[in-house]
Symmetry: C2
Subunit: 200 residues, 2 copies
């Protein structure tokens, strides 16, 4: 039995739905946006800022430095806000993994927990056209084309992952299991991960 | 039901064993070295040359050109031997996929058959230390360290794949399913692929 499942995912692939359903089936905690609350409580940052920066830390807008913020521990001063957030988020993930079985979506959790052997690391992806249809159906239209939204979001996630882990986002070698949700289907992805989690 | 399973694999990961067992379970043909015979019959090349070049075509040693070989069709003249071999191998794979359900290991078959929707494309990988132990157990020691043998072989496969497909070898997005055989185990890999092949 693996205690922890981390799910990394391409935007629009349904990885988040897979994670939520999986956590329900296994009867364990689910963390995604929920992580934001924990981090907000630790840092005093605004939850919407954490939500935006937590997976896109390497973006330019986050290069505001914490030279003089009151309440920031001395050791953190001089770090960029995004590096500071990374440290806190990393500690929160390590703590949650220690506390109880759970499913964690995104946030480089596969890398952060790489020294534990009770984790199953999964990557969910799908071709651009499948994801484009899906995000329009789920989130509606926007000014940008769905393809552009996907490329922008994936690029930011990839940059963030590579910046903090030194690994290539989506390279199969980083994960124990990678699934194309467009061919396998969301529910069958859940079935597969559930059975592996229980059997391994 | 998917008619065809292609298996790409890191050297030493057990992908070939997975493919062989899978073909037995499904009761379908298995092609790996067997492909070499077909290609030899089509080209007149020596089987050992095809074996060496078929997955490592972009290596320097294969830049011998077919300017004047008798028996080579006119359209092929001026091609490098490796490009010629690629064309023949591609045609053989397309023909075999048309003929009957099968499992094909290596040879960029995932890419060559990408326009068919009755294929399941799988990548099998494992960490270096697991594969190093495995190749020493299976193939014995050699002058080079097992880690170096793995790196050399993977690099040649990756170069060949990237040269002929324009895609990144081992990027999860090229495959429907990627499996870490060191964690999942060879037999469970076979189970997973078998059930997906039958269900999809």
């Amino acid at each position: 039995m693996k205690r922890i499942v981390t799910i990394s995912r391409e935007f629009g692939s349904g990885g988040r739905s897979v994670g939520k359903k999986l956590a329900e089936r296994l009867g364990v905690k689910y963390y995604d946006k929920e992580l934001v609350k924990e981090v907000a409580a630790e840092t005093g940052f605004d939850p919407s800022y954490i939500e935006e920066t937590g997976e896109h830390s390497a973006s330019k807008s986050s290069w505001s430095y914490l030279f003089a913020s009151p309440g920031v521990p001395g050791i953190m001063k001089g770090m960029s806000a995004s590096d500071f957030l990374w440290c806190i988020q990393r500690n929160v993930i390590l703590k949650l993994a220690e506390e109880a079985p759970c499913v964690i979506v995104g946030r480089c959790a596969d890398y952060i927990l790489k020294d534990r052997d009770d984790c199953l690391n999964v990557f969910v992806h799908a071709p651009l056209n499948y994801r484009a249809d899906r995000i329009v159906r789920l989130y509606g239209e926007s000014d940008k084309s769905p393809e552009q939204r996907l490329k922008d979001k994936d690029k930011r996630r990839a940059n963030n992952y590579e910046h903090y882990t030194g690994q290539k986002w989506g390279a199969s070698q980083n994960y124990h299991l990678c699934l194309d949700s467009s061919v396998i289907g969301i529910d069958r992805c859940v079935d597969l991960i559930e059975s592996l989690t229980r059997e391994l």
